[in-house]
């Protein structure tokens, strides 16, 4: 208190001094603070804030917390990360008050609750308007994030600018001038000369061949290839080699591995139990094929981002399946948690990984740094992060039937068209048949009444007499009588009202007619009232009967091409009676044409709780909604499965999220409510994915949230048509009532010609009745059936033919499933529980991203993809990719930080060369092969790896490319080379992965069955990648752990590498196989075999010393095995040891 008193005495004069001046500047909304109020502020409030809050929330705070400052009114009103701290006049809405009361999410100050009187003081002050003199505001903009300034100041955002190579300076020796054989060389040479460096000499031919063969295919050249190349004197030898290598399918296998490093490719989800990522290998094969067929990189990129949305997807040239859609599988390669306790956080983490991989891979940007705050260095705002994240929010996961989806969709479209015709023509046929019968129906009804009212409905004579009285067909009259007797018991029959009147004796007055119909009207009214209140206290989440086209999202075609409409019908196999089920309610309806869908052998289904039935190609999803109570009710008919994807979580193992899956049997196929209780997840976002259970005729009408079971909202529709014709006015007399009954039917028949949506459901109910009761309206039913058969026959045949075209079996692959458009709310400080403003989906602002149009029906990924590659707006895509190619061929990128072109990355050593290449790349059809060809045929790539001493002294890191780098092979290439020389290599192309071999040291939960030690001889790219069981050989040789983009592998040097090459049973066994293969060549003597060995392993012949060393070793080692000197060179053991030595020489694992 002593301190407080001091402050007051010090501050008081200042407050009084400032008073009048301040008043004018005070916030008008808060009213004019009185002098007394301001005095109170300075006396009490400011000291209190200073004492309790300023250490974290003021300009003088060492570290400003939550971005909130309480030392200025403007700042306090603007608030911090979580919004305004105060609402003058309303303490209850003020975050500050909640915090000091310890009532909300924040409990401030953190060290302990304030004494009650201080809380009261602050509360009252805010209630009184939070009077605060403005004079104390010293605006201190703490270095605001300036995106534009950052964009302008960093090289990577600038457009690609081509500066053609400059002529070399005067006096450059001719030898150097002629050294450059391509523009690439000219750029390199210019920089070398500027630093007084000279390029290294050309490498030896064989060195170059080994280099280029490994770089392009990841395999060593065969002796035959070496001979052919060395012997080629045409002057075109290099080009021929490069063209041959680029055509080889090994090219795609090798370069696909580079790509898989970027997209954290793996075939399991990691985490606790390492569940399978189904069919991930299909994506790997897609990449291999795309690289081999040199798909232009811009298309490759578009396919990754939005391959599922391309109007004309790329197809496999032979098998015809949809290639483009497979690209989207990369989004789903991340590690997934199977039972996250906090699904919101889990979703945020999954999406973060997707944004991270996307932005690093394609843009060389670390966008995910902006998850919690604007990027610390780059022109990337937090808004940018959530703008990208929104695309993912509007997109989901599926296993797509990529082999058949497009075909079946076309079939479904033709089926829909054929059914539209059938509907038109069959209803027309029915109308033609019954037109006359409808006109004279009132006469029949009156005659039938005569008979029934007389109490003799079954009396043949009475029937004949009644018929004759009005000149009617007696057989038809009989049918009408029989129907009326039955309809009397069915209150929903269109003739029920008339059936009742038939029981009114004599010739009733208008009052009697009205009286007879009164209870009926009450009954109908009751039903309508019940229907109207059916959904009271329910929250309608999804209405399938009114689902707009933009929300119609199904995987496959099992739910037709859109919702069924009232009056649509399923045809029976009997052309005489073609009307099967007539849909009286709209909604999503299962199409039996797509029953029996199956999964091809070798394809994997989803796992966990979603593995029990096939969802691929059989599923429809609702838009995403936010649950309030989580007590969901689905109005359905038929048997089905519902999977509620809450926060897009779908790896369902364990009990925690078990309720997100529901299943029910068909029962009597009547509409009913299915309950799914997700109240534990109340407040979360979810969408539901429905599919039929065992091809049951599932129909979906709506999803609501309600504490109790709702009623049937359609119950009133069945009586609506009846009510409209039998109100008191229209049915005054018997004649009028008969005419009303007929008009009721006539209206429905007319509606079928021109179906308006207004009273569709009620008209469809009558129409359904009408098509089943044609005999009541015609004299000769048999003749009608014949005519109907003629009308229906062709249509039925067409339907059958189309159904026969449906392809039932397909392989599955992971793909995007576009959801309905939704933007992402920013998470304050990256916390998914603190939702900030909604950010429109768009490309990064610094790359000219504009919010995508709100009319765009889906995620808008296609426009994101277009923003990436079209219009030359984006300088990064081409630069990043050519730099990656350069990195793999030269061992170091022009921008060494290949995944980070931001401020924290390194600047390009040769910016003009980089831009020239990027420009070429985009102008030459984005062809990866063309670019690689250009690079490996350059003089730069041809240089020897032996630099001059001066060059090493001046440029030890070889930034300026004075020589080629000596590079260790990637682990994959080392293993493949062993298989190749040992003869064990199985050259099979593509296909399901061979399970990884598990040594005794590879242990842990979810350990799968071990694969064969030698991987069946397949290339390493075909060996399974299980996140928790990565090949230990590959790990030791720096194959990255798949968690994010790794464009540049470490090249480490650890004892484990030596131990593997020395002692791993795989290596030893391959040495044995190689030895066997050499010994089998009987024509060769020992020296010949040693020669062959060197040629296979290193592409060259041994020197004499090497040959001597080898043959000496054979003899010596033979002796150690107890062999004599003649036996040694013929025994497999010393040979095997020699082969093993070859694997262990550095020449085997390095290229120079």
């Amino acid at each position: 208190m002593v301190h407080t008193m001091k402050r007051i005495t010090l501050l008081l004069p200042v407050a009084l001094l400032l008073g009048p001046a301040v008043l004018g500047a005070a916030d008008k909304a808060a009213g004019k603070p009185s002098v007394a109020q301001l005095e109170q502020f300075e006396k009490v409030i400011r000291p209190l804030l200073a004492r309790r809050c300023f250490s974290c929330h003021s300009k003088s705070a060492k570290k400003l917390k939550a971005g909130l400052r309480l030392d200025s009114r403007t700042r306090a009103l603007a608030g911090g990360d979580t919004g305004p701290a105060l609402v003058p006049g309303d303490p209850d809405k003020s975050l500050l008050v909640q915090a000091i009361r310890y009532a909300g999410d924040y409990k401030m100050p953190p060290g302990g609750k304030l004494p009650p009187e201080e809380i009261r003081t602050l509360t009252e002050w805010i209630r009184a308007g939070a009077a605060w003199p403005a004079g104390g505001d010293t605006v201190d903009p703490s270095a605001p994030f300036d995106l534009d300034a950052r964009r302008k100041s960093h090289w990577a955002w600038q457009p690609v600018k081509v500066v053609e190579p400059r002529p070399l300076p005067e006096g450059t020796p001719e030898k150097l001038i002629s050294w450059a054989t391509s523009p690439v060389d000219q750029y390199v040479l210019e920089q070398l000369l500027a630093r007084k460096l000279a390029p290294a000499a050309d490498a030896e031919k064989v060195t170059w061949l080994r280099r280029v063969t490994y770089d392009l295919t990841g395999m060593p050249p065969t002796p035959a290839e070496v001979d052919a190349f060395v012997g080629d004197q045409t002057g075109q030898a290099d080009q021929k080699v490069v063209d041959r290598l680029l055509k080889n399918t090994r090219f795609g296998e090798h370069w696909a591995r580079h790509w898989l490093d970027l997209v954290r490719f793996a075939e399991s989800r990691g985490h606790e139990s390492d569940y399978v990522t189904p069919n991930a290998w299909e994506y790997r094969d897609y990449v291999i094929r795309a690289l081999n067929s040199d798909v232009s990189y811009d298309l490759f990129l578009v396919e990754h981002v939005a391959g599922d949305l391309l109007p004309t997807p790329r197809r496999h040239p032979v098998k015809g399946f949809n290639e483009s859609i497979l690209g989207t599988g990369f989004w789903h390669m991340g590690d997934w948690c199977h039972s996250p306790v906090d699904v919101r956080q889990d979703e945020a983490d999954r999406r973060d990984n997707m944004v991270d991989v996307f932005s690093k891979t394609f843009l060389g940007l670390t966008v995910s740094c902006a998850r919690c705050h604007d990027h610390k260095f780059d022109a990337i705002s937090q808004d940018d992060y959530y703008a990208l994240s929104g695309f993912l929010k509007s997109s989901g996961f599926r296993l797509v039937r990529f082999e058949t989806i497009d075909h079946n969709r076309r079939v479904a479209r033709r089926l829909a068209e054929s059914r539209r015709q059938a509907r038109r023509r069959l209803y027309a046929a029915v109308r033609g048949e019954i037109a006359a019968g409808l006109a004279n129906l009132p006469a029949y009804l009156l005659s039938a009444r005569d008979v029934i009212a007389a109490g003799v409905p079954d009396d043949a004579a009475a029937q004949v007499a009644a018929a004759n009285a009005r000149k009617l067909d007696v057989q038809r009259l009989k049918r009408v009588i029989a129907h009326l007797l039955a309809a009397e018991k069915n209150v929903l029959d269109p003739l029920h009202a008339w059936a009742r009147l038939c029981r009114v004796p004599g010739k009733p007055t208008a009052e009697a007619v009205a009286a007879a119909l009164d209870p009926l009207r009450k009954n109908w009214a009751g039903r309508r009232a019940a229907a109207e209140s059916a959904l009271a206290k329910s929250r309608l989440l999804v209405d399938f009967t009114r689902l707009e086209g933009r929300h119609w999202r199904q995987d496959g075609s099992s739910f037709r091409t859109g919702p069924v409409e009232p009056g649509d019908f399923v045809m029976t196999d009997d052309p005489a009676r073609p009307f099967g089920q007539v849909f009286t309610r709209g909604g999503a309806a299962w199409d039996r044409a797509f029953s029996g869908l199956a999964v091809a052998d070798g394809s994997e289904n989803e796992n966990g709780k979603l593995s029990g039935w096939i969802r691929a190609g059989r599923t429809i999803r609702t838009p995403t909604f936010q649950m309030k109570t989580g007590r969901l009710w689905h109005l359905v008919a038929g048997g089905g499965h519902a999977f509620a994807s809450v926060n897009s979580h779908r790896l369902l193992h364990g009990p925690l999220h078990g309720r997100t899956v529901a299943g029910w049997d068909a029962g009597d196929n009547r509409p009913r409510w299915i309950h799914q209780d997700l109240s534990r997840l109340a407040g979360h976002q979810a969408h539901i994915e429905f599919s039929s259970k065992g091809d049951s005729p599932l129909q979906l009408f709506m999803v609501v949230e309600s504490d109790r079971q709702p009623g049937d909202p359609f119950a009133g529709d069945a009586v609506a048509a009846l009510t409209s014709r039998f109100d008191a006015k229209q049915a005054g007399t018997l004649e009028a009532a008969a005419a009303a009954s007929a008009r009721l039917l006539k209206t429905a028949a007319d509606w079928s010609r021109n179906p308006s949506p207004n009273d569709a459901t009620s008209q469809a109910v009558v129409l359904d009745w009408l098509v089943r009761h044609v005999p009541l309206l015609v004299a000769n039913p048999a003749a009608s059936e014949v005519k109907m058969s003629m009308a229906a026959g062709g249509l039925l045949a067409m339907e059958k033919r189309l159904v026969g075209e449906v392809k039932k079996t397909s392989r599955l692959a992971m793909a995007m499933w576009d959801g309905s458009a939704a933007n992402q709310n920013l998470f304050i400080r990256g916390n998914p529980k603190q939702r900030g403003k909604e950010v429109p989906r768009r490309m990064l602002q610094a790359l000219g991203g504009q919010p995508i149009k709100v009319t765009d029906p889906g995620s808008g990924r296609l426009s994101l993809a277009a923003d990436l590659v079209l219009g030359g707006r984006n300088p990064l895509v081409a630069r990043v990719m050519v730099n990656r190619l350069w990195h793999h061929l030269f061992g170091r990128g022009l921008v060494p930080t290949v995944d980070n072109f931001g401020v924290q990355g390194q600047a390009p050593s040769h910016p003009e060369l980089l831009d020239w290449l990027a420009d070429r790349f985009s102008r030459e059809r984005w062809s990866i092969k063309t670019m690689i060809r250009r690079l490996v045929l350059s003089r730069t790539y041809r240089m020897s790896s032996r630099p001059s001493d001066e060059a090493v002294a001046a440029d030890p890191v070889n930034v300026w490319l004075h020589s080629m780098r000596v590079r260790r092979l990637q682990g994959e290439a080392i293993r493949d080379a062993m298989l190749s020389v040992s003869g064990r290599l199985d050259m099979a192309y593509l296909g399901k992965s061979v399970p990884v071999y598990l040594s005794a040291h590879m242990i842990g939960r979810g350990r799968p069955k071990s694969g064969p030690m030698d991987g069946n001889g397949r290339r390493t790219i075909y060996i399974g990648v299980r996140r928790n069981f990565l090949s230990s050989m590959m790990l030791a040789f720096d194959t990255p752990q798949p968690f994010s983009t790794v464009g540049r592998r470490t090249r480490s040097n650890v004892p484990a590498q030596a131990l593997i090459l020395m002692n791993d049973p795989f290596v030893v066994s391959q040495a044995g196989l190689w030895a066997k293969r050499l010994l089998a060549r009987e024509k060769l003597d020992t020296d010949g075999r040693i020669d062959s060995m060197y040629r296979q392993a290193f592409g060259r012949r041994p020197t004499d010393r090497e040959r001597e060393a080898a043959s000496g070793f054979l003899v010596e080692q033979g002796r150690r095995y107890g062999l004599n000197d003649e036996q040694g060179p013929g025994d497999p053991r010393p040979w095997s040891d020699l082969c093993h030595v070859m694997f262990n020489t550095k020449e085997f694992i390095f290229i120079n």
Partner: protein, 518 residues
């Protein structure tokens, strides 16, 4: 270089980095710094290896870490953190008493008080439950018990990743990998970071010991029980001379290659690597062979115990000691597998399934008493548990879940008083303890290994974020900014702190920290 905590450094070797920085000036500096301690590998090639020992800024109080990973985590309220208030709520619906977070199985029952009585031991008055009587008697004053750690995960795998790497997600470098990266190793015949596997690999698998984006050299090497503890350590050749002949020829051929290529660092290092590998082939069997230990020592470590798992675990402890003697930097012991011998208490209290009393007591005694006393006093030996159970009854008996204690022998005589208290009811640390969140253990280890902190620090009341740039110790309720000190460390330890800051902090933490600013 004020990175945000989510920044992943591009994989650059130290050498590469230093060579690039100021055109090789850094390389010169490094060579000078390490001049006194050139390893054979470095001598052979003139190039520093990744595991060469690195200088620390301050004289370290500890040089190595033995990390006893107790899978499952016995609850703090049953071990070192008495919660008498629980008795009051015993048998009640927890939802009325606590804020109950969902768990993976979510079968939460009733509140359960501790079935064990507590007693205070030693000068420091450390409370220890009847579950660990021997610990109390033997070494209460040698322990530092941190009772205020909290993990934002109530699910096995995330919690394991968090405990091992500081991030609840897969793919980050493990604590041991960081230590190896930052300090190198004093033993060039063995890996710097070893996991002695008792049989139970934690949920999350080998990724708990991974090197993440650090070079492969720093990943944990898992030593298995049995004859071939390390992958590929045993020569395949039937006679040693067969292998040495091969190695001789390899060397000869490689020398030829060097003649052709000129001096290429990485090829030279790869050649030197073979010498190291060959030495490891010798060193590992020597390490694992306990026959040179006296009968008394073997008995002290429980190698003659009647309980198989005790024998197994005792063996691991003894091997760990031998590793420490040989200079291995970071050793982690996992639990013995089989027989349900894990500390996980899903449904039952300790004593329900197997009696962990014997195991627990012995383990703890071994940890604290024998291992530490016998081993040179330069090892930090944290017995660290996976975030443990909350004091809730599940089914009839009990299981507890939430946060955890950490025991470590003092590396500093002044650390004596147990600090941090779980909140009265045992769910969270008491608010005024300023919980050093999940990074406390890493902070603790690093503080003993490297930078010197407050000399008169009486307690671990640390609001410690192991971000080298953002270490603020809370002492006596006041915040002491150590940033400047940390920054000084940074310049001398070549980015290790910066890297640590990248790995050891997680978004989840910053989220939590928001509502509980330090």
């Amino acid at each position: 270089m004020n990175h945000c905590h989510r920044f992943l450094p591009a994989p650059t070797t130290r050498r590469e980095m230093l060579m690039q920085a100021a055109h090789g000036f850094g390389g010169v500096a490094l060579a000078t710094m390490l001049a006194g301690e050139k390893t054979p590998a470095a001598v052979a090639t003139g190039a520093p290896g990744p595991l060469d020992p690195k200088a620390t800024h301050y004289r370290a109080k500890a040089k190595r870490v033995i990390f006893l990973y107790m899978d499952g985590g016995p609850s703090q309220v049953d071990t070192f953190d008495p919660k008498p208030a629980l008795a009051k709520f015993h048998g009640q619906d927890p939802h009325r008493v606590f804020k109950v977070e969902p768990t993976q199985f979510n079968n939460i029952g009733k509140v359960l008080k501790s079935p064990w009585a507590f007693k205070r031991y030693g000068e420091s008055g450390l409370p220890v439950s009847a579950l660990f009587p021997t610990i109390g008697e033997h070494c209460a004053d040698d322990l530092c018990v941190v009772r205020s750690m909290i993990a934002p995960f109530s699910e096995h795998t995330n919690a394991n990743f968090f405990l091992h790497t500081g991030t609840g997600l897969q793919g980050r470098p493990a604590h041991g990998a960081w230590v190896a990266y930052g300090l190198g190793s004093e033993c060039q015949d063995l890996p710097a970071y070893v996991v002695l596997n008792g049989g139970l690999i934690p949920s999350g698998g080998l990724d708990c010991f991974g090197s993440g984006f650090l070079p492969a050299a720093f990943q944990g090497s898992v030593f298995q029980p049995g004859n071939s503890p390390v992958a590929n350590i045993t020569p395949r050749e039937s006679k040693p001379e067969l292998q040495s002949a091969k190695l001789a020829l390899i060397k000869r051929l490689d020398r030829n290659l060097l003649g052709r290529l000129g001096r290429v660092d990485q090829v030279e290092s790869a050649i030197a690597n073979y010498e190291l590998a060959a030495r490891m082939q010798m060193a590992v069997p020597d390490l694992m062979d306990l026959s040179d230990e006296s009968k008394a020592t073997q008995s002290l470590y429980g190698l003659d115990d009647s309980f198989a798992n005790t024998r197994k675990y005792g063996r691991l402890c003894l091997v760990a000691r031998r590793m420490v003697e040989r200079g291995v930097r970071f050793i982690e012991l996992t639990c013995t597998g089989g027989n349900g011998d894990r500390w996980d208490q899903h449904n039952r209290p300790p004593g329900g399934r197997v009696d962990p009393r014997s195991e627990a007591t012995r383990a703890a005694r071994r940890d604290a008493d024998r291992v530490v006393r016998r081993v040179r006093a330069d090892a930090v030996c944290p017995g660290r548990q996976r975030p443990g159970p909350q004091p809730l009854r599940i089914f009839d008996l009990a299981g507890r879940r939430w946060f955890t204690c950490r025991i470590c022998p003092r590396g500093d005589r002044r650390i004596r008083i147990p600090c941090g208290r779980g909140q009265g009811r045992g769910l969270r640390p008491a608010r005024d303890d300023a919980a050093p969140d999940g990074h406390g253990p890493q902070a603790a280890d690093l503080s003993l290994l490297e930078p010197r902190h407050e000399a008169d620090r009486r307690a671990w009341a640390g609001g410690a974020r192991v971000a080298g740039l953002d270490v603020a110790w809370r002492r006596n309720g006041k915040s002491v900014d150590r940033r400047a000190q940390a920054r000084a460390c940074l310049t001398r330890t070549e980015g290790v702190h910066q890297a640590i800051s990248a790995s050891m902090t997680s978004p989840a933490t910053s989220v939590r920290r928001k509502s509980r600013p330090l």
